[in-house]
Point group: C2
Chain length 331, copies 2
């Protein structure tokens, strides 16, 4: 049964006419067509790339919002609250939850899928989990391509949620137009937050679990840090990074957060910063793809050479630096 479904899905894009109808159905808002398109794009097959070619001219309308912060920071709960809000305004919302790959199974963990199941019955909400790959950039390679498909299908906003404290956060800032950085009260002191060095990538700082006693203090600390120019505001000086305290228990702060997100979207547009940001988003997307492509090429064409170089490094006969130089010379 399962293999039959699979074959139908593959057939439908391998034939040009079928591909065309899948694209048309997706553009018309057919969720089942979109789900199949997403799978093809996520697997990065040639037919997936062709579907993306067709969908891409229809993109550029959605507000892509990144949400990042530590595990257990209440990101999924926050996203749930935001969805509820956007649904009241009748907006079609897409969520891409990027889970760290399991090195063991190669698959994504199921956390978010379980967490957000309350939206499964709502046709205006589409939640997609993706696994980040073991090496290379933190974010799933095809995250932004999946976002393009949602964009073409009329979803707006599109939320990309990642776990992370290090590179992930920086990557998401390069792929999203507005990045929300979640900070949790009571899990570390102010110095630790600074150490993570991640405040700078947030366009909006969100203090979740705002009902906790330490929340007000954390929000104040973040405002102080912001005011001395350590936050992202220092880079784009017209935007003062807001600090918003939210609580899932009493619903506080969500209205404000939604407004602030819209404010940032408007700011990007009115200031002309949007154009610069879109260019660097595209540059980042191309760069990740080129990197992956080159590594794949290295693996396929030069594996024997690589293995013999590794042998020489194992025997301390040459450094990995020189081995890389030699491989680069041959590429």
């Amino acid at each position: 049964m399962c293999s039959r479904i699979r074959r139908i899905a593959i057939m439908s894009v391998s034939e040009p006419g079928q591909q065309q109808s899948l694209v048309q159905a997706t553009l018309a808002g057919d969720q089942r067509a979109l789900a199949r398109v997403l799978t093809h794009i996520e697997n990065d097959t040639e037919s997936g790339r062709r579907v993306l070619d067709e969908l891409f001219p229809h993109t550029g309308n959605a507000h892509i919002i990144g949400i990042t912060g530590p595990p257990g920071g209440g990101k999924s709960t926050l996203v749930n609250e935001l969805i509820r809000h956007w649904r009241k305004a009748d907006r079609k919302v897409a969520v891409i939850a990027v889970d760290p790959s399991s090195p063991l199974t190669g698959g994504a963990t199921l956390g978010d899928r379980i967490r957000m199941q309350e939206w499964f019955a709502d046709p205006g909400v589409f939640v997609r989990s993706m696994a980040s790959r073991r090496f290379g950039g933190g974010l799933a390679q095809n995250t932004i391509a999946v976002a393009h498909a949602f964009d073409a299908a009329g979803y707006d906003p599109i939320v990309i949620e990642t776990v992370g404290t290090g590179q992930d956060e920086v990557s998401i800032a390069a792929l999203a137009m507005t990045t929300l950085l979640v900070q949790v009260p009571g899990t570390g002191d102010g110095v630790q937050s600074l150490k993570a060095g991640s405040l700078e990538i947030g366009d909006v700082l969100v203090v979740t679990k705002g009902d906790r006693p330490e929340a007000a203090e954390l929000a104040r600390d973040l405002r102080n840090i912001r005011s001395i120019g350590l936050a992202a505001g220092a880079q784009e000086s017209d935007w003062v990074v807001p600090v918003v305290r939210t609580s899932a228990i009493n619903g506080d702060g969500i209205d404000t957060l939604v407004e602030v997100i819209d404010d940032h979207h408007r700011y990007l547009h009115d200031s002309g910063v949007e154009e610069t940001r879109i260019r660097s988003m595209i540059a980042a997307e191309i760069s990740v793809r080129v990197q992956q492509g080159l590594l794949a090429r290295l693996g396929q064409q030069h594996d024997q050479h690589l293995q013999s170089l590794i042998d020489r490094v194992v025997h301390r006969d040459l450094t990995a630096v020189r081995a890389a130089e030699e491989l680069l010379g041959g590429l």
Copy 2:
């Protein structure tokens, strides 16, 4: 004054004789020579690469230990306790603290340097902070090259400490022989830990702040997860991943942790797993370097082409996927 010191340091490796004496002094344990070597290696200059060529045949003796976990998880405190223990046994200890780069300043934050200053006066301890770069792998590109220099200079063990929950952890597991994964009680539930998907990369799981009431429960949960095969032990089935509870307040667990680290080192050697691991460490090192080299080449030689492709993507004329294909075709 500052620029004069700089010039002397650069001169001393640009002349072959001087380079030779710098290498000899480093091998003989001269800390000032080592400090200069580290700077050259970290900056990845050609003279740094030549120095590394000379030092590399003298490496392969140190036990490289990775320590990772969430910010505020007590990693630096733990490292301090381990240093104290190893110093009693008269071992020369090196610590490489990888801080996330500040995208704003490009530099590393100063957390660890400040934290570990109690060892500044001890010639048997060398602490080096490095900044991870904005894109590309999480870990500082030259981390492992710096570790090689410490190895040649007779430091053993060498600890690489990183902050992170996502890719960083996986990267460190690819560069270290033994990886300690720090888990903190009371910052999230068990499901959240699973979500981070990171347990699998730990050869040893350390529950810090072990005096907290939730610590025993967390340790028990981790043992349960381990026993159902979700932890790294499932990959290398002979090694049962130990869960060690430590407390900086009463010093509990550090003796056990030191023993367990030695056990793992012995296990790697006796089982033959060491050889496989060293090969994959080298492969990872080469791969990161090739990736960086290719990106640099792309930036230098193909920038105009890249910019015109970005223009076309901006106008939705082609996808980033196709832009990457075109760039790859020309490389």
